[in-house]
């Protein structure tokens, strides 16, 4: 088991009180697995990704534990995480294009980052060039400034840099969102090939774009208002979504081929609850077409079939709505 997240709770401190952005998430990721995290803005998907790599000062870990390759990962200790960051856990941030230092040539920047971690640039250089070649960048880019590269090229550069030390876990946060469809596809498929080449052992891909996740992930985890509501094999979840939220989310996605004149799709009415003071019980119940009395109690994650847990009272063990 590569990553074990157990009942992780991360709150944001604000003047109005604690925003419970991540409220008891349990997740296991196997070696070689790519897990996709999807959900609306503010559902906690980026918070989950960030808290595994870098908890900043606004974030406070309230409970739970994280284990990577059998050893505890001290995610709430910023200093202790320095040892692990980049070497064992790494991330491609949401705005990777602005993650490069504009005043340094790329090669110089890589050298500085490596040396700060006690790794000699010369030792890594051949592997760096090999990986640049794999993502379609010539070694000559190392002599260039970030401004000389296109958005897609910068994104690839950051991908290579983030995974240079072969981390166990890579968190890729909205890496394709700012790209054109053609480079979006190339970058998404490169992520997959990084796993296949063993540059990273397992991966969490965070994006609001479910169709990208369908293309490249093995497992899909759907989040709603700080909690996991459904998790299962990607093909299974997309073909037979069980949680009412997942169903509405999947049915609101327009596809090439679906036309307004022929089939009118609809969104999900209402908006997610405030996480300052989340409601008791199921957090989706105000917007849920299947809600009934039982939903004031919090639904546990129950397997509707092996490896496909769903947190919903209205879905019984056979997976059919009750």
């Amino acid at each position: 088991m590569s990553l074990k997240v157990n009942d992780l709770r991360v709150y944001y401190r604000t003047l109005a009180g604690d925003v419970k952005a991540l409220d008891g998430v349990t997740l296991e990721i196997a070696d070689g697995e790519i897990v996709g995290l999807a959900g609306e803005s503010g559902c906690g998907k980026t918070t989950l990704g960030n808290s595994l790599v870098r908890l900043d000062s606004r974030m406070k870990m309230v409970g739970g534990s994280v284990e990577l390759d059998g050893q505890p990962l001290p995610v709430d200790d910023f200093e202790a995480m320095r040892e692990h960051r980049w070497k064992r856990v790494s991330m491609i941030p949401q705005y990777a294009m602005s993650a490069l230092n504009p005043t340094r040539k790329l090669g110089q920047m890589v050298r500085e980052v490596l040396e700060a971690r006690g790794v000699r640039y010369a030792d890594v250089r051949p592997e760096l060039e090999r990986r640049l070649d794999l993502v379609g960048l010539a070694p000559a880019v190392l002599a260039r400034y970030p401004i000389e590269l296109s958005g897609g090229m910068k994104q690839r550069m950051v991908m290579v840099l983030s995974t240079l030390l072969d981390p166990s876990l890579l968190v890729a946060d909205e890496v394709t969102s700012a790209l054109d469809v053609s480079s979006q596809r190339a970058v998404a498929q490169l992520l997959q090939s990084f796993r296949d080449h063993g540059f990273v052992r397992s991966m969490i891909v965070v994006t609001h774009d479910v169709s990208i996740l369908y293309q490249i992930t093995d497992t899909l985890a759907i989040m709603y208002a700080g909690k996991l509501v459904e998790k299962g094999p990607t093909d299974e979840v997309m073909a037979r979504p069980r949680h009412p939220y997942t169903r509405l989310l999947v049915s609101s996605l327009p596809e090439v081929g679906v036309r307004y004149d022929e089939e009118r799709l609809s969104g999900i009415p209402g908006s997610p609850p405030s996480l300052l003071n989340p409601p008791q019980g199921c957090r989706f119940r105000d917007r849920c077409p299947l809600a009934f009395e039982k939903c004031v109690e919090e639904p546990p994650m129950r397997d509707v079939e092996p490896g496909h847990p769903v947190a919903c009272w209205a879905v019984d063990a056979t997976g059919a709505p009750a």
Partner: protein, 322 residues
């Protein structure tokens, strides 16, 4: 109602404006009342530049834009003000379209000050509530809040309501849903469909092919400032003529079919170029169609040169790649 004839836009770039960048080259198309036309292109294709020229936020360098009988490029002063009474725009980022210091009703007050200074309070209220009704918002719930208290979908609908306060006949919708969540974006798209039924002409500018396909009757594919393909949406998406359109369609992440393996050139992300064996439909047809630079292959279905060079000649015949 709106007709573009060989519209060209050249930006001065470089230090002292020494060199020129041709963002839009000889683009001709028209939008009829009650029609949604999708203008689809990747970054840098000139799609937003066209929208801004229609809204007169940018000067037009060549060609003409006509709205009914008026030449948009020549409008000044009060005539331009009257033009904005009928032609309005909504843009990508709803959060930065509002002044955070004022309540959201401020954008409505600005319209009242410029256009309805002599309207009575009751008449104005009726107008506001009619516009709010069209976009399915409850005035009491949203109007007296600050922008940060509302969701992106609500803000975007408010901006559409603002555009509808005037006697709007034509709407330029520039990437209006790319920043919205999957659960709300479809509602805003459906709203455009409702407006179309009220007789509005809408230019829907997007980089997302599935969204363009969902709502529009006709689609225009832009590549490097030129129209690559234009026609009824079902034809452009169902039987694409230009290889660039086919490449874009193959890159779209779908929900029922997975991507194939990437070719070496796509992996490199060097930018798309047609393969040498690709025939040029435009230059094969000797008779020029009714629209400049485009050949009419089917009824209303136009295709541009497969690989136009800077001077407009065909890259295929000039330099055959072996």
């Amino acid at each position: 109602m709106l007709t573009l004839d060989r519209v060209t836009k050249t930006y001065k770039v470089g230090s002292f404006g020494g060199s020129e960048l041709r963002a839009v080259r000889e683009v001709s198309f028209s939008v009829a009342p009650g029609e949604v036309v999708a203008l689809i292109g990747e970054s840098g294709s000139g799609k937003s530049t066209i929208g801004k020229m229609i809204l007169r936020l940018l000067e037009i360098n060549g060609g003409t834009i006509r709205f009914e009988d008026t030449d948009v490029g020549k409008l000044t002063g009060s005539a331009l003000r009257e033009y904005y009474r009928r032609v309005q725009g909504v843009f990508q980022d709803p959060f930065s379209s509002f002044n955070p210091v004022f309540k959201v009703s401020h954008v409505f007050d600005l319209v009242r000050n410029s256009y309805f200074g002599d309207a009575s309070k009751a008449a104005w209220q009726a107008r506001v509530s009619a516009a709010m009704d069209t976009v399915n918002l409850e005035p009491g719930q949203v109007l007296y809040k600050y922008p940060h208290q509302l969701s992106g979908g609500q803000l975007q609908r408010l901006l559409i309501a603002r555009a509808l306060l005037l006697d709007t006949q034509f709407l330029v919708a520039d990437e209006i849903i790319s920043m919205l969540d999957a659960s709300t974006r479809i509602d805003v798209l459906n709203l455009l469909g409702d407006l179309r039924e009220r007789g509005l002409g809408i230019l829907f500018i997007t980089h997302d092919l599935s969204l363009g396909n969902y709502i529009s009757a006709r689609a225009i594919i832009l590549r490097r400032g030129r129209i690559a393909e234009m026609g009824p949406t079902a034809e452009v998406f169902g039987a694409p003529l230009h290889p660039y359109t086919r490449m874009l369609l193959a890159s779209v992440p779908q929900l029922h079919a997975k991507w194939g393996a990437l070719g070496a050139e796509e992996r490199a992300g060097a930018g798309w170029a047609p393969s040498a064996s690709e025939p040029c439909l435009y230059h094969a047809l000797a008779t020029p169609g009714p629209v400049a630079g485009l050949a009419e292959v089917g009824p209303g279905h136009f295709v541009g040169c497969v690989n136009p060079l800077d001077d407009g000649s065909c890259g295929r015949s000039a330099s055959p790649v072996s």
